[in-house]
Amino acid sequence: MTALLEQIVNGAMMGAIYVLVALGMVLIFGVMEILNFAHGVLFMAGGYLCDVFVLHLTGSYPLAVILTMVTLAIIGVALERGVFRRLRVNVPMQIVASLGLILMAENGAVLLFGPSALQLTVPSVHSLVRVGELSFTVQHFIIIGAAVASIAALQLFLRRTRLGAALRATSQNPEAARVIGIDSDRVYRLTFAVASALAGLGGALLGPLFLISPQMGDLPLLKGLTAIVLGGMGSIPGAIVGGFAIGIIEAVSTLFITTDYRDMVVFAVLIAILLVRPWGLFGIRVRGDA
Amino acid sequence: MPDILEVDGVSKSFGGVRAVDGASFRIKAPGIYGLIGPNGAGKTTLFDMICGRQFADAGSICLAGVRIDRLRVHQRARLGVARTFQECRVLEEESCLDNVLFAAQDKHLGTEMIQTFDRRDGPRHAVTEEAERLLDLVNLRPLVAEAAGTLSYGQRRLLEIICSLIAKPRLLLLDEPASGINPTLLNVLRDFLLRIFAERRLVLIIVEHNMEFIMSLASHILVMHQGRVLEEGPPAAIQASRRVIDAYLG
């Protein structure tokens, strides 16, 4: 029983990370119909930038996290303007560009920081919280809290601000949105900025807990992808439910099978959803789906 | 003799909106038929259901006595149901001639696989003549080798119609063929359709908003309103009908 509880909390924590990645991916897909395979390296960049900011700029971890988010937002805008805007309709080339960006980013990280993983020491990872017999780091709960806070902030933004409304309008009907005067370029930039900031937040939060390495974004990318497929490709609630679900399913499954096969569980879930209910839990069934 | 086309009590809803609500009509003889009605009357949805792009929620559709409403698009196409699209679809990268030749190609998978290894081009040669004749009738002959994507809008419409004719369908559905066409080209189109009808004696059903065009072309008009067939009859009667006028104005 306690083992189960332990895995559920672990799962919620990893799920929170997946939610941060998935939210970004679902925003980009919902608004721009782009599957951003390079999202994992944005996550990774968040981890490294946070490390740099803590060690070389400000000793404060929270401040570094905020700076990381801002920097990633700027990087996201640059990516949108420089690369992805022109590839909106060309899916194979989106993939090529994403792969190119992955190669550049992962190898760039190796050049700048070396191939071995970095360890970032922050107080919240060393303080423990005891729940009954179990103990978790404070970071576990910070991560979950950060995800919840991000979700709330995003909802507020989308529903209570004009920019948020513009984003929603563009995702539902780009032509109509343009007709009523919404600047779609601005919306796209904003989407990438928010999505990248969320990914960077994820990397900055996970980095201290595990390790910061060039490949640290690869699996979160695939898990985030699974989450948005599970939740429904254009659905924000879907990304949230999907992210937590994947995290918890993954963690709980380690009680029954070896960690070698843990990744297979996630892929099996992905394949199963796509075959049985491709529009996911909250997606809309569109003419053309089985 | 079974009716050529029998549509009986056909309905279709999209998330609560009843696009087609128990539409019924019969077509007993070859002819040019017009399908008109105010926006939202369900005309294109009805077309979609006849050719298989949508499945009807209720009702039946029979082609020469055979029920086709559960068949898929390509199966109905092979039975002789052809259509053009409101948004005008052609294979952009292929030349005009290749567009037509492809439309005429026997598309059974087995036949195609055999053709891969038995490379006789005989059938293609035979069709080329007919293809070029048809393209000539609408002044597209000079553009035979040009990619379809480079054609003007009106030219693409004509190409699309020729492609749907080349496989000698029994039933041809044209979805707003006259929209966006200038008056000169409209005459070419009208003459072409009359000529094709004279040669082939098929059933031509045309959805149109251009009243002058459709009234001068069709021998029989069907009027749809709110998902049903409101009235049908010869053009003169329809144009004088009170109910039809009310439907458009109301």
Binding site: V96, L103 | H74, A77, R89, L91
Partner: protein, 333 residues
């Protein structure tokens, strides 16, 4: 006019084949070149298979090397345990891969483009994880070493010994040409025209009588089988089967080979394979700096050469021809 074009193509084809077979003679003194070219052929085969799917039919498969792995492991197991000789082993590998392709395709091809891409990624990953974890069958992470080369073949006028580099090259070249001819025949046929129609406009293709699903399934199976053949040849060449050869990085690699080389053209994948193998740094343990440059090149390619390198070359050639004719006409005015 028509006959002459066909004969010209046949002549070019024959020259190409002859050049291919003369390579061992030309490079007799450079075993490294022979090795690189043989490896190129091993990569070109699955790439040509993927090209049929991606370039001609418009289906992006991100897990294609999984099928190559199926072919590789089946061939390797049969050869290693002496259960079959070379040709039946390779054939079995090809058919097994094709079968897995059918099993994958039936449920997955109904999905729309984005979903299809994701599910092929997942299937490829699953296959890799199976290769990597089913120790009792596949040898797990260590793979299957000690796969024997085929025995020498007596052709009458010569003996081809695949245990030697030149001999195996000829075997690989023959497999390559076989696949090339199949690719050519499929593309230039009614079937190929239906595939092209599906790529350009599925709805239109269906309304003209094309059974879109059946066509997609057929080409998916053929494409998987070809990948399986490539996997079998590769495993015999390297004398070992290893799961890393069929993992995510390799899935990515083969997609890049096809797209960068020029999808939708017959020679594109060959050019891509040559590029990606003849730059060996780009494949294996690579200098990080060169990889950054390579990544930048890919992004540049995506932005400025949407039809791949072969397409770029074709565009440039067309422009040069157009310029020349303009000049010629100007000269006549």
């Amino acid at each position: 006019m028509r006959v002459r074009a066909g004969t010209a193509r046949l002549a070019i084809g024959a020259l190409f084949a002859a050049a291919l077979y003369l390579v061992p003679v030309a490079f007799a003194g450079s075993p490294y070149v022979l090795f690189t070219l043989t490896l190129t052929l091993c990569y070109a085969i699955p790439a040509m298979g993927l090209n049929l799917l991606l370039g001609y039919t418009g289906l992006v498969s991100l897990g294609h090397m999984g099928f190559a792995g199926v072919g590789a492991y089946v061939t390797a197991l049969l050869m290693k345990h002496g259960l079959a000789s070379f040709v039946p082993s390779i054939l079995a590998g090809t058919l097994a891969a094709g079968l897995v392709g059918v099993l994958t395709g039936v449920p997955c091809l109904r999905l729309r483009s984005h979903y299809f891409i994701i599910v092929t990624l997942a299937v490829g990953m699953m296959l890799f994880l199976l290769f990597n974890n089913l120790d009792w069958l596949t040898g797990g992470a260590a793979g299957l070493p000690g796969v024997p080369r085929p025995r020498p073949l007596d052709l009458g006028f010569a003996v081809v010994d695949p245990r030697r580099p030149a001999g195996f090259y000829l075997l690989a070249a023959t497999a390559f040409l076989l696949v090339f001819v199949i690719q050519y025949a499929l593309v230039h046929s009614d079937f190929g025209r239906s595939l092209a129609a599906i790529r350009q406009d599925e709805t239109l293709a269906a309304s003209r009588g094309v059974d879109v699903f059946a066509h997609k399934l057929t080409i998916f199976a053929v494409s998987a089988a070809i990948a399986g053949l490539g996997g079998g040849v590769q495993v015999l060449f390297l004398r070992a089967a290893a799961p890393q050869s069929f993992g995510f990085l390799e899935d990515v690699n083969v997609v890049l080979i096809v797209i960068v080389g020029g999808s939708g053209s017959l020679f594109g994948p060959c050019l891509g394979a040559l590029l990606f193998v003849a730059l060996p740094e780009a494949l294996r343990v690579a200098d990080a700096f060169r990889m950054v440059l390579f990544g930048a090149a890919l992004v540049a390619l995506a932005l400025f050469a949407p039809r791949g390198l072969w397409g770029l070359a074709a565009t440039v050639a067309r422009k040069l021809r157009a310029d020349r004719s303009v000049v010629a006409r100007a000269g006549h005015s």
